[in-house]
């Protein structure tokens, strides 16, 4: 269960995320959609405790990511935008290192390693050097790294990017199977991905949530694409108002 509450993140004067709130329930897959630069990665980095929010908070299974950071981080598996691999390490050594960092008990590391290598299709690659892997395999190692401690919460930042169609199909299947009673949040800008595997969709544009809805409850007959484009353009129309608002804010800042 992830509860994002009134999250705001400002980089200097630039506000990347404005008052974002949404909820991802246990056993569901939440698709986090938005155009480039909408604030998806920033939001995910805050959820995983990599960077602090300017305001608002995130609860991971009820644990606050800021005040109970260690306990909350223990529950998360995270695949960042670019897989966090050490280019000189071999796949197996790397995954063992992550397993120890993630507090997998020593006796269970072998089993955990074998399991993630198998589900991510890396069994034959375990002795390869990370830096020499293709983009698709790097992505898989990144995914394996996020899964190795069997976390109740999974945060995946564009998990299928850079994969070939067959791999995309496999990884989607994998994520679908993973859900179980886990909470999964995945960001993407591939719309069919969301309609295929997600239970809930959150659309974000210009740092604001413009739609949070269960896929089943979306009006029948409308495609996700229409809804997405609608939500984003609606945001654009609102921009007149928000521009004035932000002008006032800037003015207030100067006085």
């Amino acid at each position: 269960m992830i509860e994002v509450k009134n999250l705001t993140k400002a980089y200097g004067n630039f506000v990347a995320v404005k008052d974002v709130s949404f909820k991802a329930e246990n056993g569901s897959i939440l698709g986090f959609l938005g155009p480039n630069g909408a604030g998806k990665t920033t939001t995910m980095r805050i959820i995983t405790g990599y960077m602090p929010a300017t305001a608002g908070t995130v609860l991971i299974d009820g644990l606050d990511i800021f005040s109970q950071s260690l306990e909350a981080r223990r529950k998360i598996g995270y695949l960042p935008e670019s897989p966090p691999l050490y280019p000189d390490m071999r796949v197996e050594a790397y995954l063992r290192f992550v397993a120890r960092l993630r507090d997998v008990p020593r006796a269970k590391i072998d089993a955990a390693l074998e399991h993630v290598l198998e589900v991510c299709g890396l069994t034959d690659m375990s002795h390869r050097i990370c830096g020499q892997l293709s983009k698709g395999y790097r992505q898989r190692v990144g995914l394996a790294q996020a899964l190795i401690h069997d976390p109740p919460v999974l945060v995946l930042d564009e998990p299928t990017i850079g994969l070939d169609p067959r791999q995309i199909h496999e990884i989607r299947g994998l994520i679908h199977n993973l859900a179980g009673n886990r909470t999964v949040v995945l960001s993407t800008h591939i719309l069919p991905e969301v309609s295929q595997i997600c239970d809930k969709v959150v659309i974000i544009a210009d740092g604001r949530v413009v739609l949070e809805e269960y896929l089943q409850k979306l009006p029948a007959g409308t495609s996700l694409e229409d809804i997405f484009l609608n939500a984003i353009t609606k945001e654009r129309h609102d921009d007149g108002a928000t521009a004035e608002e932000s002008l006032e804010e800037v003015g207030a800042g100067h006085t």
Binding site: S69, P80, E81, L85, Y86, V98, L101
Partner: protein, 257 residues
């Protein structure tokens, strides 16, 4: 502690996955061997010259510790000023650039444990390298009769010096994601520690005292001459502590709102 050792193990193995560690060790030992050879050769020439002059007083004062080990250790300290930045520049800067920093900071570990792990690895690397340079005194012990205690004190000084350098290197690396910037600023700080007492004569006595206290060679040469004084050890330990504390703050600052 367990997490620190996990990181330390990965870091130490990481040094040897790249050619940098081998290059640094080779340069250090080759130069060390060259200094040792040159100084020993000079010592031998002087020895024959003074023996020929039949001057027992001067001959008595001529010894291996003063003429070979002491200048060699001082030279190696200068070599470390150049080599340590090359070893430590990667530690944080590269993690930030490749994105693995995100892995470390989202793992359930404290920033202090990350810093401690990286420190243990870099310090261990330095100790291995200095231990290998211990072959030079061993050669002297095998073929001459130097004072072992003084040599031990000198090597202990070199180890303290190297570990202090490493802490400063970790700090500069934690400030940037650019390895060159990390290395150059570390190099600058280390060099400054060497020359900081130069303006001492110009200032008042308390100012001069402060500069002399901060000056790294003053504490190091004490140990090289065989004097293990708690003041010098406290100096090195404070340097290490302050540098690591600043590193931890710098890493932790990523979490400040």
């Amino acid at each position: 502690m367990k997490n620190s050792l996990t990181i330390a193990g990965k870091e130490l193995a990481g040094y040897f996955l790249q050619p940098v560690a081998y290059v640094v060790m080779t340069v250090f030992l080759l130069l060390g061997g060259f200094f040792f050879f040159a100084l020993l050769r000079y010592f031998e020439v002087m020895l024959t010259a003074y023996s020929a002059m039949q001057n027992p007083e001067v001959l008595q004062r001529l010894n291996l510790n003063d003429r070979v080990i002491e200048p060699m250790l001082h030279n190696l300290a200068i070599v470390l000023v150049i080599l340590v930045p090359a070893i430590t520049m990667r530690s944080f800067a590269e993690e930030k650039r490749t994105g693995t920093y995100e892995l470390l900071l989202t793992a359930p570990i404290r920033t202090g444990e990350i810093v401690a792990g990286k420190f243990i690895a870099a310090a261990a690397f330095m100790l291995i390298m200095i231990a290998l340079a211990g072959m030079f005194p061993l050669i002297l012990v095998a073929f001459g009769n130097p004072e072992v205690g003084v040599m031990f004190s000198g090597y202990l000084g070199l180890a303290f010096l190297a570990i202090s350098f490493v802490s400063i290197g970790l700090f500069t690396s934690s400030l940037t994601q650019n390895q060159i910037i990390a290395a150059i600023s570390c190099f600058g700080l280390l060099l400054l520690l060497f020359v900081i007492s130069w303006p001492a004569q110009a200032g008042g006595s308390s100012f001069a005292g402060l500069l002399h206290y901060l000056s790294l060679p003053e504490h190091f040469s004490q140990m090289v001459t065989g004097i293990i004084d708690t003041r010098d050890i406290v100096y090195f330990l404070s340097l290490i502590f302050v540098a690591l504390f600043l590193t931890q703050r710098s890493v932790e600052s990523a979490r400040w709102r």
